[in-house]
Symmetry: C2
Amino acid sequence: MNYPESLAHLISNFAKLPGIGEKSAERLALAIVSSEEEYVNDFSASLKNAKQKLNRCTICGHLTENEICSICSDSTRDKNVICVIEDFKSIFAFESSGKFNGTYHVLNGLISPMDDIGPEDINIASLINRVEKLSNPELIFALKPTIEGETTTMYIKKLLENKPVTISRLAYGIPIGADLDYLDNITLAHALEDRKKI
Amino acid sequence: MNYPESLAHLISNFAKLPGIGEKSAERLALAIVSSEEEYVNDFSASLKNAKQKLNRCTICGHLTENEICSICSDSTRDKNVICVIEDFKSIFAFESSGKFNGTYHVLNGLISPMDDIGPEDINIASLINRVEKLSNPELIFALKPTIEGETTTMYIKKLLENKPVTISRLAYGIPIGADLDYLDNITLAHALEDRKKI
């Protein structure tokens, strides 16, 4: 396709975003061209701004514009409860559920020998450090139910073996609204094993 | 949701794009935060760049970085054939079909009394002007098959009544790959009326 160069460049940048194909990238770039200049300038500035201002909380690894994130600096949150997650995106999902009043710890990856990612490559040391300073710590693992997720959970559990810490993982089971007929066997087996008295 | 301010701002800008909902906007903004700074700076610059550099071809109204677009300045294209379209996005669709070797004329709207858009609000005068300068002009209307599209086509046809110009519109009919059972009555009626001997 014979796009003017600046349009082609913009399309290729949109197409680098996750879930945006060539066709959507064209649609978005053309929308930009048809938009008000004020909006485009603001959009342009907000891209750079977000990238420059946002860094990781020095305690939990969440996104923040300050040194410590809004969750770690919130005195109403229970600092003894730490939900261990793979990446900061999960925090937004948990927060929007509104059901969690503890804090988080972002590992920034999972142990994966296949990809040459060892325990020292992810934020495990800082987690152990946090746990050791707490009087009555509780860890909730919210990692992907994959080999890497399980390995990481087990590795950290082993490191904390002799420490007084309560450790759990999220329940595996049937997602709300799911059709049982289409559920995979492993999920069904877990749902059966972890059945709950009612 | 308690986003850091620069992230919230970026999300709201993504959400202003067509077809991008709140959830997708969050996903895209978080992808930006996780991207290389070089890419984000380039993306930011390409937004402004596209908006600033692209303007409308003074002949046909297509997007171009110059005064005259690549199609109007292409000596191999048949300048006597003008495909009349509502907006420049259609040009990319036609060009990607690779079946058209004429030129275009972007009306930038359709006559619509309901929306207070009259003939003088869209690029009709410049079209008549172009047609009058040609020796053997042919107009192909490729407007939406709606009342506005039909009205605009008929209005321009009337203006050219006494001029030696061949006028046609795109065929209405069954889209390739469509399921006849799900086709609307009007399309079916058109497809029947315009049936083609084989």
